[in-house]
Structures are given as C-alpha cells and as structure tokens.
C-alpha cells in the first residue's frame, strides 16, 4: 500500500550486516540441502513407481522363501540412507550452532547503545547518551550509523512483541519486565523495514518500523538535531496550533520537547516532521495523512490507542501547521 520503493528492504536474503549475512548463508545451505534431499527422495519414489513388476511376474506365484542375499542388500541400503540422514542433520545442527555463536558475539569496541521498547502498537527507541540531557526518544524510526556496532536492548511495556528487521538480524522477543539484547553492525547504507513478529493484538500486522542506515556524518547531524528541543512556532497559525495541541486530548499522551506536553503514553512528537512515516510505518508522513490520522485514526487502524478527535476546521488547520513545522 505504502512505500512501494522498499522492495528488498524487508528481506533476510539481502543482508545489510555481517550477522544477517551469516544467517542468510545458513538459510541458503539449508535451502540447497533440502532441495537435494527432496530431489533424491522424489527420484527414488518415481523409480519405484516405474520399476513395477512385469506382467509375467504378476501372474507368477510370489516367492516368499528366505533369500539372505536380498535381505542383506536391502538392510545395507536402508542403513546407508539412515546414516546419511543423521549425518546431514548433524551437519546442519553444527552449522546453526556456529551461526548462533557468531551472531551473538560482542567485540571490544565501544558500541552504540539503543533501547527499544514495544508498545501496542508502536516502537519506542531510546538513544542513551553518556550525557543524560543529550539522550532522546524517538518512535517507529531507527537511525543507525554505518559501520558501528549496535547493541539494542529490547523490552516491552505491555505484552510480548518481537523485533524483526530481517536485513539486520534475526528475530528477538520483547518481553515485559525483562531485557534481551541484539548485537549487529550495519555495513550497508539504505532504508530497511522491520515488523513486529509476535502476535500482540489488533494492530499487530501493521506494527512496523523503518531502519535508516546512514553515513557517520549524516547520523551525527541527525543525532545532534534530535537532542534539541522542538522548534518554536514561527507564525501565528503555528502558535495557535501549539495552543490547540496543549489544550486538547493530544497533551494527555504525547511529548513535545520544550513544551508542557510531557507524557510518554503515545509516540513522542518533538521532531515529528523529520520522520518519513507515521502510525508505525503505515502511512507516509504527509499533511493529508496526518489530518486523517488526527481526526479518525480508528478508520485507518481499528483498535489503536489514539482516540478520534473532533476539531473545528480552523483548529485542525492550525494544529497541522504546527505539527508539520516540528522538523
């Protein structure tokens, strides 16, 4: 529906990290081994079907007398097939064990630490900075610097979710009251898509997020900008829009840095306009979509936690002017 240009952005066979690369390799090994096994079994089956007894054999009385030579040959064939099967399974087990070890390996360099918190139905990403005032929280969009090791700490606020960005890494569950970790190093720039992979309620299927891997320079520019408070409204309409925001239901759930709006129930909106999507990577971030979402989000994603908002046309216009100015 949206993001038509994101082909290959949600694929485990187009890895963007060495970790996902190991997983992709393992997948291809398993794929080819399985194809070979399937081909062999099918060939044996077809051979058995066509090598049916001839018409003369069918009419002749069946010879049931013990034939040690034939018995021995059949036993040997079955034993060889069994041994090969077990050997293949052990090889795959070993490969998956070594892959599992390789992808959970933490190198010595200082990693970038990010905390991901699952909510019904959006993603919260907390960038933890050694200087606390420089840390910030963003939603549904994970920006990462290319070539740096990332340690993602996962937890949940309500039910079990699962973090799954196949280009970066395998799945890992977000469990309330418990922290788990994902370690990877993005080495390819680009936009990738992630998705909740553990059924978590009404909007589970549309609980997505975007991962933007950028060069170091771009990333630190963005990082410095995100650690700032929200921009001040520059004209009267935007000022009125801020007033609408602060005096209505919005303020009960959302944060805009530098204003009294400071609630952490819904996604933070401090730099809303700098994000590419809204509604957990469901809609592109345009003024029109924002208007639809603010007024009646239940039509777009039934069951989500955002209440419908009845605003007069002028108030809505001002509010949208303000929200779209939050670069």
């Amino acid at each position: 529906m949206f993001f038509q240009d994101l082909s290959g952005a949600h694929s485990s066979v187009e890895p963007a990290t060495p970790q996902a690369g190991r997983i992709a390799n393992l997948w291809w090994v398993m794929f080819y081994v399985s194809v070979a096994v399937l081909a062999l079994v099918t060939a044996a089956l077809i051979y058995a079907v066509f090598r049916r007894r001839s018409a003369r054999e069918q009419t002749a009385p069946v010879d049931l007398s013990p034939n040690t030579n034939r018995e021995r040959k059949a036993t040997r064939a079955a034993a060889v097939a069994l041994a090969v099967t077990i050997a293949i399974l052990f090889v795959l087990l070993g490969l998956s064990f070594t892959t599992g070890r390789a992808v959970s390996f933490l190198s010595n360099e200082s990693p970038l630490e990010i905390k991901a918190v699952g909510h019904r139905w959006w993603w919260e990403f907390q960038y933890v900075d050694p200087v606390p005032s420089r840390g910030f929280i963003t939603a549904n969009e994970l920006r990462l610097p290319q070539g740096r090791q990332i340690v993602l700490t996962l937890t949940s606020n309500d039910v079990i979710h699962s973090f799954w960005a196949p280009n970066l890494m395998g799945k890992k569950d977000l469990i309330p009251g418990q922290e788990s970790r994902l370690i990877f190093r993005p080495e390819k720039q680009g936009v990738f898509r992630g998705q909740c992979a553990e059924f978590c309620g009404f909007q589970h299927a549309q609980m997505g997020f975007l991962v933007l891997v950028e060069s170091d320079g771009d990333f630190s520019d963005w990082y410095n900008h995100e650690s700032q408070q929200a921009v001040q409204p520059s004209n009267d309409s935007e000022k009125r829009g801020r007033q609408v925001f602060l005096s209505s239901t919005c303020v009960m759930c959302h944060t805009i840095g530098g204003t009294p709006a400071n609630s952490n129930i819904g996604p933070p909106l401090t730099h809303l306009a700098s994000r590419t999507s809204i509604a957990a990577a469901t809609l592109t971030n345009s003024r029109e979509n924002l208007a639809k979402w603010v007024t009646d989000s239940q039509k777009i994603k039934p069951g989500n936690r955002m209440p419908p908002n009845v605003l007069g046309p002028e108030n809505l216009d001002d509010l949208l002017n303000y929200l779209t100015s939050l670069k």
Binding site: S247, T249, M252, C253, Q298, P302, P307, N309
Partner: protein, 199 residues
C-alpha cells in the same frame, strides 16, 4: 420376521405437540437467545463509538434538596458497565492518565479512596462523570477537553467496579502489572452512601 413386524420396529411418526408445550419451547428458545445476546455485549469492542449517553451527565444534581416535593431523577445507564473491554480500557486509562497518582489503586492516599462506600460527590455514573470532567474543590483537577467523552465513561465504569458496583462477569479479573489488591471482579459490593466532608 414378517414385513409388517419390520415396519413396526420403527417409531410411529410423532404426533403434533400440544400448544402449551410448543409455547414453552418457544419461550425457552427466546430466553436462551436473550441470554446469548447479553453475553455478546460483554465482548463487544467498539472503536468508533458514541459515548453511551452524551451530555446525560449534565442533568445530574449536586444535592438531593429540591424546591417543592421531591421528583425522581432519570437514571443514566452507562452501557460500558456490562462490557469487559470498556472496563479493562478504563483500568488502563486509570493508570495512564495518572488517576493512580492520587487515588492509588483505589485505596486512596492523596485523594479519597474509591473502593469504599463513601462518596463525597455521588456514586451515580453521571456524578462520577461530572467529577472527572468538572473537577472538584480541594484537589481534583478538571479533565474537560483533555479526555474524550467515551474514555471518561470507560473510567466511570472502572471507578464503579472498584467498589463492586458492576457485574462480576464483566469487571477486570487481572492486572497487567503486579496485583495490588483483590481483582475488581471479586470485590464485595459496597452499598454507597453520600457522606462527610472532603478530608
């Protein structure tokens, strides 16, 4: 065995049941349907809803004292009290909107307790609605314009469940977080009384 005996082995075609019996069967069926319908309401999840009684709360009185003879009030029915989903949403909002900041988990602390039988400003749904929307002197803030009407009604239903005023078939049975007291579902039903002054 003759042919005739064979046929007789099968039961005779049933005679038409007497009218009284038929009436009873129809009655039972209707009753069962009614029960099923009531049960369905418990599970209904409305996402684009009208509040159960918009502006109904505005008719509520602050005092029983009236000019002339007392006239009965028209009761306000909060349909969310029969609905498990709305009640659990109310429970979630009670935490998220920080009602628990003052009322704690219903036991009271900074604000009055909500799980006992004492009501300073009335225990009826419309009274509680007004308490939330208008605010009350000495500490209860006004949430007018900050919380949509339907969410206020969900909160009202949940607040009443704290003292066992709603049916146990719909009241929440568990908490998302650590259970602090017996679940709303198994609270004893308090008999509310208008009482006292604000502490």
């Amino acid at each position: 065995m003759t042919m005739r005996e064979g046929i007789l082995l099968f039961p005779r075609p049933a005679r038409r049941s007497p009218p009284a019996l038929r009436l009873r069967v129809v009655g039972m069926g209707a009753l069962a349907l009614l029960i099923f319908q009531a049960a369905c309401k418990r599970e209904e999840r409305g996402f684009r809803v009208q509040p159960p009684s918009a502006s109904a709360a505005e008719g509520s009185r602050m005092t029983d004292f009236q000019p002339g003879p007392r006239t009965p009030e028209s009761p306000v029915k909060n349909e969310y009290e029969d609905n498990a989903y709305a009640l659990s949403e109310g429970k979630r909002l009670f935490q998220e909107y920080n009602c628990s900041g003052c009322h704690f988990n219903g036991g009271g602390g900074i604000g009055p307790a909500l799980m006992d039988d004492e009501w300073l400003y009335g225990d009826k749904p419309e009274n509680i609605f007004e308490t939330i929307v208008e605010g009350r002197p000495n500490g209860m803030p006004s949430f007018r314009g900050k919380v949509p009407d339907y969410q206020v009604w969900q909160l009202v239903a949940y607040v009443r469940s704290l003292s066992g005023q709603v049916g146990s078939n719909a009241a929440p049975g568990r908490s998302d977080h650590m259970q602090t007291s017996s679940p709303e579902q198994s609270r004893p039903r308090e008999s509310p009384k208008l009482s006292g002054k604000p502490r």
